[in-house]
Symmetry: C2
Subunit: 79 residues, 2 copies
Amino acid sequence: MKTKAVFYHAGCPVCVEAEQQLAACLDPSRYTVEHVHLGNAKDRVREAEAAGVKSVPALVLNGKAFHINHGADLSALKA
Amino acid sequence: MKTKAVFYHAGCPVCVEAEQQLAACLDPSRYTVEHVHLGNAKDRVREAEAAGVKSVPALVLNGKAFHINHGADLSALKA
């Protein structure tokens, strides 16, 4: 069974490009990647927070949050 | 031909655990991952810097530096 990785971002073009590149490098036989735009899906900010996400872009993989570079703090997306 | 990804770290156990987990998720049919401990291999700090690495842990993939979470600034490793 494949593991779902979730990639949270806020639409910054540079970050999206960079992270999609990273997400695309994951082993497709083991992982499916869901992309969540927290600027559009504000109802999922809480879920991201619960997973340990402090800033975007971030990848949640096997229950761990990996903050990749730094776009914006999660708090900026709660407004 | 496989692409070489380079994962730079400074030996912090938490970061090493987290990043090895991320590195292990890369598609093994496309990537080989080299792990470089910059605390031990100070001669490679310049190489990391040239690749755009500002802090460790970081993964350099397809010529781009991905800073994953934050352990230490690269400048701390030049001492």
